[in-house]
């Protein structure tokens, strides 16, 4: 029971961290399938950052590759996507570092520094760097679809645990929860 809770906790935490990273401050709309369609339809002079993320971690692309039933193609796909995903994480981390450096230099000359605001900014910076580091680690270790893979692995373990439990009541409760979750 304890192991299961840890797995679920880790998966939920990771999903939240990814959401935190991809969410913009002004509550930009989430990356949805509708968004993906809009990319294709509209003429534009750029792509939004969330649209690029959507493309890198696209489930559609992965399913397309899986339909080929070729382990070699899947390996090539994962390697290519891993490379792009890591590039994006590293670049995000570098850009934020650069912004903070510029801010630090500017604030040295500032006479009316707001301590609370600076501390909040530093906290947000450290949080972002932590998420970037964690994402890079996960992508390197488990591939570009690390989060969804981990989440489905957790679901699988959860189900297995439900089946393996000798206590009928708890097992059926787990199975019911799993059914509700997958619906």
């Amino acid at each position: 029971m304890m192991t299961m809770s840890i797995f679920i906790g880790v998966a939920v935490l990771l999903v939240l961290l990814l959401l935190l990273l991809t969410r913009s401050e002004d509550g930009e709309e989430s990356a949805s399938a509708e968004g993906a369609d809009r990319i294709r339809r509209e003429s534009r002079d750029t792509l939004q950052p969330w649209e690029i993320i959507l493309r890198i971690f696209s489930r559609e692309d992965r399913e397309f590759i899986l339909r080929m039933r070729s382990p070699r193609m899947l390996r090539i796909y994962q390697e290519e996507r891993r490379r792009v995903a890591l590039h994006w994480v590293r670049r995000t981390s570098c850009e934020v570092g650069e912004i903070m450096r510029t801010h630090r230099l500017a604030s040295r000359q500032s006479e009316n520094l707001d301590g609370a605001r600076e501390a909040k900014l530093l906290f947000q910076y450290l949080r972002l760097q932590f998420v970037c580091g964690l994402l890079a680690f996960l992508i390197r270790m488990f591939g570009p679809h690390a989060l969804s893979d981990l989440a489905s692995y957790t679901g699988e373990l959860y189900q297995r645990l439900g089946r393996a439990l000798p206590d009928g009541g708890v097992a059926s409760h787990l199975a019911t929860t799993e059914d509700t979750a997958t619906r």
Partner: protein
């Protein structure tokens, strides 16, 4: 601030480019390659004789650059499946043997030159990676097609 007259001319040049030149090109990948070919490798400046004569060098350059960027963004926004279809159309248009085409593109990577200047580096990485994948998928399908053909040609022999 930009002169409104200049913007109108640029829009005219852009519309002209879309209507006359690019509309006759059958797929976005071919349009991208075409637009990249109007750019000088050394200076990065775009040049198009017809547009230049009608709208002036600066407006023609801006129209070509804008169209190049727009088509690039469109291609980056495609799913892998759509990009493979796009590449298939382009291979057909090239009239080269698919095997030779794929081999040349994988060896020389000419599509690297088709990337516009000053675009987001992640977008560039994603585009290059997707083209590499699309080429690999076409090669895989080619192999499957050949395998199927050789199996079916063996059928009568096996039946004997």
């Amino acid at each position: 601030m930009s002169d409104p007259g200049t913007i109108v001319t640029m829009n005219n040049a852009y519309d002209d480019l879309l209507r006359r030149t690019l509309a006759s090109v059958q797929c976005d990948l071919a349009r991208l390659i075409y637009l990249a070919s109007t750019r000088d490798y050394n200076s990065g400046m775009y040049h198009h004789e017809g547009l230049c004569a009608r709208y002036g060098a600066e407006q023609a350059r801006e129209a070509l650059q804008a169209a190049h960027r727009e088509i690039f963004f469109r291609l980056v926004g495609l799913t892998l499946e759509e990009l493979v279809e796009e590449l298939e159309v382009y291979v057909r248009l090239s009239r080269e043997a698919p095997t030779g085409f794929i081999h040349a593109w994988q060896e020389l990577e000419p599509y690297r030159l088709a990337v516009p200047m000053e675009v987001d580096s992640t977008m560039v990485q994603l585009f290059l990676s997707n083209i590499r994948l699309a080429l690999e998928i076409l090669r895989f399908r080619q192999g499957q097609g050949q395998g199927r053909r050789s199996t079916s040609s063996l059928q009568p022999l096996l039946g004997r």
